[in-house]
């Protein structure tokens, strides 16, 4: 990386409360806004068979009231304070977060503590949210061309075990049979304070914020923290291939997925992150040049790590994905062959210093832009703290990515062979 590349760093205060809740606080007074994020260490992979989609449904239920709050009070208190809020369910975690003017910090902490203490789920609210989730699935998947491509459709090709392969949005039958008792069990088991990380960032005084956190979260009762299972499974030893007819899609598409090293091992993992950028970030990238600009076999091509998270908040096992949209008169084998040739070119020819420096400059710039946003910075800190015990990585990543060498990127590409991958072809059922 260019030696003059700018760096940022964020001072992080951390504490573990007596109930086990891990806390990170990171002041940045450049704008009068704060963010609050709670990450629970449970996601789609922990759903039991017969309860597909439950982690996500439960996320919806966390907005339906709590010990001190009626349905919708949580949302109304945040928004009438001038804030925004949301939650999301990923393979390995479920998060809840707010961004607000800094004078609403204590209120946001109270609201998160209240539902960590006791969400309030009724039969009526459960039925309502099952209906809402079904519409979410219809709008994003069932009524949508390329719905779920490839984040829902490629995992069952690459993986064999239920936790890794199943549909995280859930089947309608599973959703409809969910009960209030299921919700109680799920909360008891997975939403213990010791299974969560709270991150708070932005326009605040670290000591005062820590004091407010102790006030509001300190008496959430301690509960047993579940062991996190190892979800690892063997990687493919021959190409796994599936064709999927999409009745709404006007043109075909193809996705490829390869297993990558455990993200926990950053030295082994980061070269794959740089590789995705070499392959498909911007018009100077290898696959964009070859497939889109020169051969014109694809109208869009992308490469990234992880099915629904970004590369830095997913646990093992995960994958490097390449996906391309092409027209019906181009056979997908031609698209895939061009991808294979470009991977081989990286593996055998390496990545010249000039190209690597360009890619690293762009990665740095993208990370800095993420840091500028109090909410995305705070979310990243929560996830780094939860999965790696190091919120400071939010400022350290550019230098770590900058230390990756061209040889390491070439070695990563050398492992992405046809017989180690999953391949999903979308057949255009909606072509006119």
């Amino acid at each position: 990386m260019v030696s003059s590349a700018p760096v940022t760093s964020y001072a992080v205060e951390r504490a573990t409360l007596r109930n086990g809740l891990r806390v990170v606080v990171a002041p940045d007074r450049s704008a009068p806004v704060v963010a609050v994020a709670v990450y629970y260490d449970v996601g789609i992979r922990s759903e039991p068979e017969g309860r597909t989609g439950f982690a996500h449904l439960f996320e919806h239920l966390m907005f339906q009231g709590s010990a001190s709050l009626q349905k919708m009070d949580h949302v109304k208190y945040v928004q009438s304070s001038g804030g925004t809020l949301n939650g999301s369910t990923r393979l390995d975690y479920t998060n809840y977060y707010e961004a607000l003017p800094s004078n609403a910090l204590e209120r946001a902490l109270f609201l998160e503590a209240d539902r960590m203490r006791a969400p309030a789920v009724t039969e009526e609210n459960l039925a309502n949210q099952i209906a809402v989730v079904k519409e979410e699935i219809r709008v994003n998947v069932l009524n949508q061309p390329y719905g779920g491509f490839p984040w829902l459709t490629l995992p069952p090709v690459l993986f064999e075990s239920f936790p890794n392969a199943h549909n995280g949005y859930g089947g309608f039958e599973d959703l409809e049979s969910a009960t209030v008792e299921d919700a109680r069990d799920f909360f008891d088991r997975y939403y213990a304070p010791g299974n969560a990380v709270l991150a708070v960032g932005g326009d605040l005084d670290a000591d005062a914020a820590m004091e407010l956190i102790r006030t509001h979260f300190g008496d959430v009762p301690r509960r047993t923290v579940p062991d996190r299972p190892d979800f690892d499974e063997p990687a493919p030893t021959s190409e796994r291939r599936v064709e999927h007819v999409d009745p709404l899609a006007p043109a075909p598409a193809v996705a490829l997925g390869w297993r990558v090293p455990d993200p926990d091992d950053l030295d082994a993992y980061l070269p794959y992150v740089v590789l995705t950028s070499v392959l498909a970030t911007g018009d100077a990238s290898r696959l964009r040049r070859r497939l889109v600009q020169e051969d014109r076999v694809a109208s869009d091509v992308g490469a990234h790590i992880a099915f629904m998270e970004d590369a830095f908040d997913v646990r093992n096992p995960t994958a490097l994905l390449v996906e391309a949209h092409h027209t019906g008169d181009v056979p997908s084998d031609r698209v895939v062959a061009a991808v294979d040739e470009e991977l081989d070119r990286v593996a055998t020819g390496g990545v010249p210093d000039d190209e690597l420096e360009r890619v690293q400059a762009r990665l740095t710039s993208a990370l800095l832009q993420g840091q500028d946003h109090v909410l995305s910075r705070t979310l990243a800190m929560a996830s780094f703290e939860q999965q790696r015990g190091r919120a400071e990585l939010v400022g350290e990543l550019p230098a770590l990515l900058g230390a990756v060498t061209g040889e390491q990127v070439a070695a990563a590409a050398a492992g992405l062979l046809p017989d180690a991958r999953a391949r999903l072809d979308i057949v255009a059922g909606g072509a006119r």
Partner: protein, 448 residues
């Protein structure tokens, strides 16, 4: 529900602390000899700089839409000095990127780079503005690619719904559509684009906003040094005046087998410079513009008909509108439309409570603070404000205006903003299942 049957006594929700006032950004400004207005703002939160160049060139005739789309897509395909790949490499080297987008009123070139790359970013931007070469082979490839992307866009029910509504609202006016057809972009002659850029992408009337880790006075000098050579002559162009839409029957677009129906309901709205705008913004949000709104409470949180119902104000230079969108289960299409009509009617018939108005205004004030708290957000907001003839003091005055809105103000603005007499409705869905229930409510015509 509480864990293991434990009950927790309710606690009081904490109040708000004293707000810290956002500091107004300090703005340095200069108009170059070529007519380009340049505004620079220092915000050193991260070592990055952002640029936004707004070129007021309008879509005036139907065929302009596809040509504009090809200008946007062709501008970065090469210059007199560099190929597409060389241009992309030069941007990448400074941690940069450059993107071109547009709508019926303008083109927007947006980019950023690491702090030290600003002079180079400005040079590359100017190189594109002065000498984009539109090489034939690359343009043809890009047209084919855009055509593929448009076919995919037109396969999405949400896009079809939005476009159907715009066409009913604005007719043949340029605001009546946003996505050209694939065939139209393939028919744009590649050789016409250089002249089109020279004619339409001109400095006079254009606005360049820079925000980030920069020194404003120095940044203005860097812009002057880099961009004075951009000397295409001509001035801004504007879309024709918008004629008021005629209310008519519900327009139904058939999508056989669809498991959802996409409802779009709306009408004209005041623009950002209209005196009633603060009240209109509160009215829109309170009715359906945020999660706490009446519409979301009703058709999502009470009835479970839909995942993401919303209403939104959309602004063009010549007209603004308010559109309600809801993608609902096919079997509840008619009941959902009844509820949308009920919430609109309630806004028109009765003033909201003072609490609702205060909560909504506070939300809008907070959103503005959040949206200007990043370099990119501040750059985008400033560009839109300045283009509307407003200035940075709006960031201080508008929150005060929002907080001064009363229930009666909302009731008054709702009379026209949400009035049944100006409402235009389109629905995309499975006609075999929804036409009869909709026809029982209102007159329905099928799209041809």
């Amino acid at each position: 529900m509480s864990p293991k049957g434990k009950a927790f006594a309710p606690r009081a929700v904490p109040g708000l602390a004293r707000p810290r006032k956002p500091r107004l950004p300090t703005v340095a400004e200069r108009v170059l000899a070529n007519g380009l207005r340049v505004v620079a703002v220092r915000r050193p939160s991260v070592p990055v700089v952002h640029v936004r160049l707004r070129v007021p060139t309008a879509v005036r005739r139907d065929e302009d839409l596809a040509r504009s789309a090809m200008l946007e897509r062709g501008m970065l395909l090469g210059t007199a000095e560099r190929s597409q790949g060389e241009l992309a490499e030069a941007l990448q080297r400074i941690g940069g990127s450059l993107r071109v987008s547009g709508d019926a009123d303008r083109l927007l070139l947006a980019g950023e780079s690491l702090r030290a790359g600003l002079p180079e970013l400005l040079r590359l931007l100017t190189e594109v503005l002065v000498g984009a070469s539109y090489p034939r082979r690359q343009v043809e490839g890009e047209a084919a690619r855009l055509a593929d992307q448009l076919r995919r866009a037109w396969s999405q029910p949400g896009v079809v719904a939005d476009e159907s509504w715009l066409r009913r609202m604005y007719g043949g006016h340029p605001y009546g559509r946003e996505h050209p057809e694939a065939d139209e972009v393939l028919a744009v002659p590649p050789a016409s684009l250089r002249a089109a850029q020279r004619r339409r992408v001109v400095p006079d009337g254009s606005l360049l906003v820079l925000v980030g880790d920069l020194t404003p006075a120095r940044a203005l000098d860097q812009v002057a040094a880099a961009m004075s050579g951009w000397d295409s002559t001509g001035g801004p162009s504007r879309v024709p005046a918008v004629r008021p839409a005629q209310q008519g029957p519900l327009l139904l677009v058939d999508r056989p087998g669809a498991v959802q129906s996409n409802l779009r309901v709306g009408g004209p709205a005041p623009g950002r410079t209209d005196p009633s705008y603060p009240a209109a913004e509160v009215t829109n949000a309170l009715y359906g513009g945020y999660f706490s709104s009446r519409l979301v409470m009703n058709i999502r949180e009470d009835k479970g008909y839909t995942y993401s119902p919303r209403s939104a104000l959309r602004h063009g230079a010549a007209a603004s509108c308010l559109v309600t969108s809801a993608d609902v289960a096919t079997e509840v299409t008619a009941p959902a439309l009844v509820e949308v009509g009920y919430e609109l009617g309630r806004m028109v018939s009765l003033p909201p409570t003072a609490d609702e108005v205060a909560a909504t205004a506070q939300y809008l004030v907070g959103i503005l603070a959040l949206s200007t708290a990043t370099q990119a957000g501040l750059a985008g907001t400033l560009t839109a404000l300045l283009a509307d003839g407003l200035d940075v003091t709006w960031l201080r005055e508008h929150p005060a205006a929002l907080l001064a809105v009363t229930p009666d103000d909302v009731h008054e603005v709702a009379q026209t903003l949400l009035a049944p007499a100006t409402r235009i409705t389109t629905v995309v869905g499975d006609a075999a299942r929804i036409e009869a229930p909709l026809s029982a409510l209102t007159e329905v015509v099928r799209a041809t």
